[in-house]
C-alpha cells in the first residue's frame, strides 16, 4: 500500500506464483489507484470553493482501477508478452547448460505483473534483479515500453489535475518543471557514466566505453541513464542496472532525485501532490515579492496551509537523515553495507531515501534483510507515504473551503516560464540544502577520492 515495493526478498525463489499474482499484483493495482485518488482529491480542492468535501476515496479508487489501470495493464501486458516476457503458469524449466550442469530457469506470469509494476510505478519485479533480468526486460524495445509505461500515468495525472482544476496551462507548467529536472538528471547520469572511472582507464579498459560496470551490455550507458533517472524521478524503483555500480556522481543523481521528493513526475498521483506542495512553498516565498499575500490558482496560502506544507516537507529529511545517521553509528546498521567508506554511507542513504521516498529501488550492496533494516525501512516507508498524505489531504481540505480570488494583473502568474524556473530552483535549493552535507560525505566524497585513486 505504500507504493514502495522494496524487495528484501528475491521474488522468484521465495514466493509461489499464486502469492505473486494475488498478493503482489493486487497490491500493485491498489497502491497506484490510491495515489490517483489522492491526486484527484487535491485537484478538486482547487476547483471547488466554500465546500468541505473533496470526493469519495473509495469511488475514486474503484474508478482509477477499473477505468484506468486495468485496461492499460491489459494492453501493456500483451505488448510485453509479445516482446518476449514469459507469461505462463508453468513452474521453473530445467535446462542443461553448455557445461553440462543442470540449471533451473525461473518462469512465471511475468508480463502481467511487469505491466502494472511499471504503470503503477511500483517497481517490485518478478525477479530479484528486477528489470536487469533478461526475462523481465529482454530487449531495447521492452526497455522503452517499460519507461514509457512508467511515465505515462504519472505524467497524465498532472494533465488531469489541470483539467479538474480548470487550469490546463498550469498543468503544462508543472509538467515542464518536472521535465526540466528529469532531463537534467538523465544528462548528469549519462555524463558521469560516459566520463567513466579513471581507475578503470588506468587498469587498461577502453575509456571510450565509459563505465560499464553493473550495466547490461544490451542497454549501455544511455538507456541506463534514462532508466535510472526515470525510475528514481518517478518513485518507481524498478532498475535495469545496479545503481551501486554507477560512478559516484552517476549514483548521486538517482539518490538526489529521490530526496527531492520524487516529483519528476513522481509516483502515480504522489508525484503530483508532492509537486503541489513544492508549488505552494514557491508561491509563498516568491508571491510575496509581487506585493500580495501568496495565492496559488486563486487560493490564498495562509498559516494553516503553510503549517501543513512544512509538516509534509519535514518528513523526508527526518526519515532519511534521521534513520541514516543512526544506522551509520550503531552496529546493527553498520552490518548492512557491504562496502566501506563513503560508498557504504551512500548505500545506507540510498536505502532510507528509497524507502521514505516510496521508491523501492535499491542501490544494491546493502544487506537489508536484517531485523534493524526491515523495521526501520518499513517505518521510513510508512512515514514517507502516509505521514505525507495526511498533511497533503489536510491542505486540500483547507483549500477547498476557501473562496477563489479572481486573477488580476497584480497576481503572480503561476503558469509562465518564470514560475517554472522558480519552482525548479526552489526544489533544487530546498532539496540541496537539506541533503548537501549528507551527499558531501557520501557520493561527493567518493567522487573526489576516486579522482585521487581510492575505491571502496
Amino acid at each position: 500500500m505504500t507504493n514502495t515495493n522494496w524487495q528484501s526478498y528475491g521474488g522468484e525463489t521465495t514466493m509461489s506464483h499464486l502469492s505473486q499474482m494475488l498478493g503482489l499484483t493486487v497490491q500493485n493495482f491498489v497502491s497506484a489507484a490510491s495515489g490517483i485518488a489522492i491526486a484527484v482529491a487535491v485537484s478538486r480542492a482547487f476547483a471547488r470553493s466554500g465546500v468541505d468535501r473533496i470526493g469519495n476515496f473509495w469511488i475514486d479508487l474503484t474508478r482509477a482501477t477499473l477505468y484506468v489501470l486495468l485496461p492499460l495493464a491489459i494492453v501493456v501486458a500483451l505488448a510485453f508478452a509479445a516482446l518476449g516476457l514469459p507469461q505462463t503458469l508453468t513452474g521453473s524449466v530445467s535446462a542443461t547448460t553448455l557445461e553440462g550442469a543442470n540449471q533451473t530457469i525461473a518462469m512465471g506470469p511475468m508480463a502481467s505483473q511487469e505491466a502494472i509494476k511499471q504503470l503503477g510505478t511500483n517497481g517490485g519485479g518478478f525477479m530479484n534483479v528486477n528489470a536487469a533480468h533478461p526475462f523481465e526486460n529482454p530487449s531495447a524495445f521492452s526497455n522503452y515500453l517499460a519507461i514509457f509505461s512508467m511515465l505515462s500515468i504519472s505524467a497524465t495525472v498532472v494533465y488531469t489535475f489541470g483539467q479538474i482544476a480548470g487550469r490546463r496551462r498550469q498543468a503544462w507548467a508543472l509538467l515542464s518543471a518536472m521535465t526540466i529536472l528529469l532531463v537534467i538528471g538523465i544528462g548528469a547520469i549519462y555524463w558521469a557514466e560516459t566520463a567513466g572511472n579513471p581507475i578503470h582507464v588506468a587498469a587498461g579498459l577502453d575509456p571510450a566505453l565509459g563505465n560499464m560496470e553493473g550495466k547490461e551490455v544490451r542497454f549501455g550507458q544511455a538507456m541506463t541513464a534514462l532508466y535510472a533517472a526515470v525510475t528514481t524521478g518517478l518513485s518507481n524503483g524498478g532498475v535495469n542496472a545496479m545503481h551501486s555500480s554507477l560512478t559516484p556522481l552517476g549514483g548521486l543523481v538517482p539518490l538526489f532525485l529521490i530526496q527531492l521528493g520524487e516529483v519528476l513526475p513522481g509516483g502515480v498521483g504522489s508525484g503530483l501532490y508532492g509537486l503541489v506542495v513544492f508549488a505552494i512553498l514557491t508561491v509563498f516565498v516568491a508571491g510575496l515579492m509581487v506585493g500580495r499575500t501568496p495565492e496559488f490558482l486563486g487560493k490564498k496560502i495562509e498559516a494553516r496551509e503553510m503549517k501543513l506544507a512544512m509538516l509534509a516537507v519535514l518528513i523526508l529529511p527526518l526519515a532519511i537523515l534521521g534513520f541514516s545517521a543512526v544506522a551509520a553509528v550503531i552496529p546493527a546498521g553498520l552490518a548492512g553495507p557491504t562496502n566501506a567508506g563513503p560508498h557504504g554511507l551512500t548505500e545506507i542513504l540510498y536505502a532510507y531515501s528509497s524507502a521514505a521516498g516510496n521508491n523501492g529501488s535499491a542501490f544494491a550492496g546493502l544487506s537489508a534483510n536484517s531485523p534493524w533494516y526491515n523495521t526501520t525501512l518499513g517505518l521510513a516507508m510508512l512515514a514517507g507515504r502516509f505521514a505525507y498524505i495526511v498533511p497533503v489531504l489536510a491542505i486540500a481540505g483547507s483549500l477547498a473551503r476557501k473562496a477563489k480570488v479572481p486573477p488580476s494583473s497584480g497576481t503572480f502568474p503561476t503558469d509562465g516560464p518564470l514560475f517554472v524556473g522558480l519552482l525548479v530552483g526552489i526544489i533544487l535549493i530546498l532539496g540541496g540544502l537539506q541533503f548537501f552535507p549528507a551527499l558531501a560525505l557520501g557520493p561527493i566524497l567518493e567522487h573526489v577520492l576516486m579522482l585521487a585513486g581510492q575505491t571502496f
Binding site: L281, G322, S409, L433
Partner: protein, 683 residues
Amino acid sequence: MSTKAVTPSVLDPAIMLPALRDALIKLDPRQLVRNPVIFVTELVALVVSLLWVQEMATGVGAPAFSGQIAAWLWFTVLFANFAEAVAEGRGKAQADSLKHGKADLFAKKLLFPSDETDLSSEVIPATALKIGDIVLVEAGDIIPGDGEVISGVASVNESAVTGESAPVIRESGGDRSAVTGGTQVISDWLRIRISTRPGESFVDRMIGLIEGAKRQKTPNEIALSILLSGLTLVFLIAVVTLYGLALYSGTDLSLAVLAALLVTLIPTTIGGLLSAIGIAGMDRLIRFNVVATSGRAVEAAGDVDTLLLDKTGTITFGNRMASEFLPVNGVDESELAKAVLMASLADETAEGRSIVALAKSDFGLSEPEAAGGETIAFSAQTRISGIDIDGRQIRKGAVDAILNFVTLDRTSAPAEFNAAVDRVARTGGTPLAVADGHDLLGVIHLKDVVKPGIKERFAALRAMGIKTVMVTGDNPVTAAAIASEAGVDDFLAEATPEQKLDYIRREQQGGRLIAMCGDGTNDAPALAQADVGVAMQSGTQAAREAGNMVDLDSSPTKLIEIVEIGKQILMTRGSLTTFSIANDVAKYFAIIPALFLATYPELGALNIMGLASPQSAILSAVIFNALIIVVLIPLALKGVAYRPIGAAALLRRNLLVYGLGGLVAPFLGIKLVDLAISALNLV
C-alpha cells in the same frame, strides 16, 4: 495633502542609543520566544558560551575559537534585537508624546448627564471612564477619551494627533462630532459621550501597533514565521544527523562547529528583520498621517482588488464649475456671457464664482461697475437667482425653474434650447438656464471637474491590478460621463448606503478584497464591511469606529499610498526571505569542506572560495551571517520600492536583485571577512 514621510536616518543618535539599550533588554527569552529563529540562535549561543567556559576551565579544546563563535552568535541575536528596536524607536517618538499627553488626564464626569442645563461635575482619572459616560470639557481642557459631541460647539487643537496646528471646529450632530482623546479644547465647551474604554482608544491602539512587544502578528507574518520555523527544524535535522554521518566518516564534530553550521543555515536574516519590517511599515503609514487600528488591515491593503472612491472631493473637485456658455435664439455668445456675469456678481456660491471666472477669462470681460441693481438671491424654493438692473430681469437657475419663469415648458421650449440642455446632461454636466425677462438667452454648462493627474493615478492602480469604482449620488448618465473622463473602471450611480454595502458584499463573495474611504455616519456600515476602511479624521465617530484606519489629513486619495505601503511590507518580507535562503548555498561551501578537511583533505575541492583555514572559514560564515542583518536594517526599515509595473515584471526584478544577489553576495562577503580574519590573525 500633507506628505510628512520624512524618514529619519538610521544613524540618528536619538534613536540609536535607546535602541542599543533596548536590544539588550530584548535578550529576555520570554520576549524572544515570539521569534523562533532568533530564540533558537540565543539558545545555541548560550550552549556555545557554556562550552567556552568549560574549555577555559579544563584547558581542553580550542577556547579561543569557541569563544569567538559564541561572541558572534550573541551578536547575531543582538543585531536582530537592535533592528526591531530601531524600527520601534522611529515610531516611538510620536507614541511617547501621545502617551505623555495621556499620562495624567482627568475627566470632569457630569453628575447629572441627562440634565442639559446642570453642568456640575466630579473630577475622576481618565482611566476610570466607562463607555457611555458623559463628560464636560471646557477651554484649556484635554479631552479625556475618544467620544462623540452631544452638545456644544468648540474649537479643538488636534495637533497632538494630526500634527496640524490649525484648530478645528467640533460640534454636535453632522459630520464633525467626533473628538479624539489627548486633543485640547481651545475655546468654548463640549459635552461628550465617551465611546471607548480607557486603553482601547485610538491613540492606545496606535501606540500598540508600533511597540514590538505588544504588537499582534499579522496573518501573513504568522504564516511566514511558520515557514521560517519549519526551515529551522529542517536544518536542525540536517545538522544533528550530520553528527552521526560524520562519526561514520571518522570525524567527531565539535559542538561549536555544529552550532555555527546550524545558526548560519537557519534563516536568521529574515528571522531577525521580520518584526522590524512590520513595525517600520506601520511607522511609514503614521508618517503619511494614517493611523491603522490593526496590522491586519495594512496587510490587507496590499491585497486590495477594488477601490471604492467617492466621486466628490476625491475624483472631482467638490464643486461643479462653469465650462461653457451655450447661447440660443440667435443671442451672441459674448452677450450671454455679459448677462450671466451680471447675474452672478452677487452670487457667492462656488458655482457662481466659477461663472464669473469663466466670463472674465474666456470673454475678456471686466468687472462691470456695481450699477446698483437689485440682486435676487438663490433660494431652495425658487431655485433661481439673478439681478434686476436697468429694467432688465436677468435670471439663471435650474432648467425647469427658468422655463417656468419664462412661462414655457420642455415641450414648448425652442428645439435649440432643448438640444443644448440635452447635450450638457448627456456629457454628465448640469445645465443652468439663463433668461432675460421673457426671453431665453441660453444655457450654462456646469461641469464636474476631474482633478488633474487623477487619470494617471487610476492607470497606475490598474497596472497594480486594482480596479477603481466611483461611487456617486449622480444619475447614471452623469456618472458614466465622469467615470469615462476620470478613467475609473466602474461606477455606482445614485448610490445609497445600502447599495454601497451590497456592492461590497457582492464583490467580496467573488473573492475580492475591497478598500473604501468615507466620513459620514451613513458610510459606517460599508466602512465596516470593507476589508480596508479608511475613515476621515474630520468625519463622524461612527465612521471612525467602523473603519480600520483613520486618515488624519482627511484626504481620500491617500488610499493609493496605503495600498502601496501594504504591498511594500509584503514585498520586503518576500525579498529578504528569498535572500536569506539563497545565502545558505555559499555558507555550505564555506563550512562543509572546513568540517571534514582534517579527515578527507580531498574535500578541499569544495572550498571554492579558497578560504584560509577551516577555523577561519567557519568563523567567517558566522560573522557574515551576523553582519548581514545590520547591513540590511536600512532596507528593512525603508522597504523594497514598489513599482506599478505588473506582477511578472516586478517579480523578475526582485528575483534578480534578491534571489541572484542572495546567491552571489555571501560568496564575496564571506571571502572578504575571511581575508580580514586572516590579516588580523584571529584564528
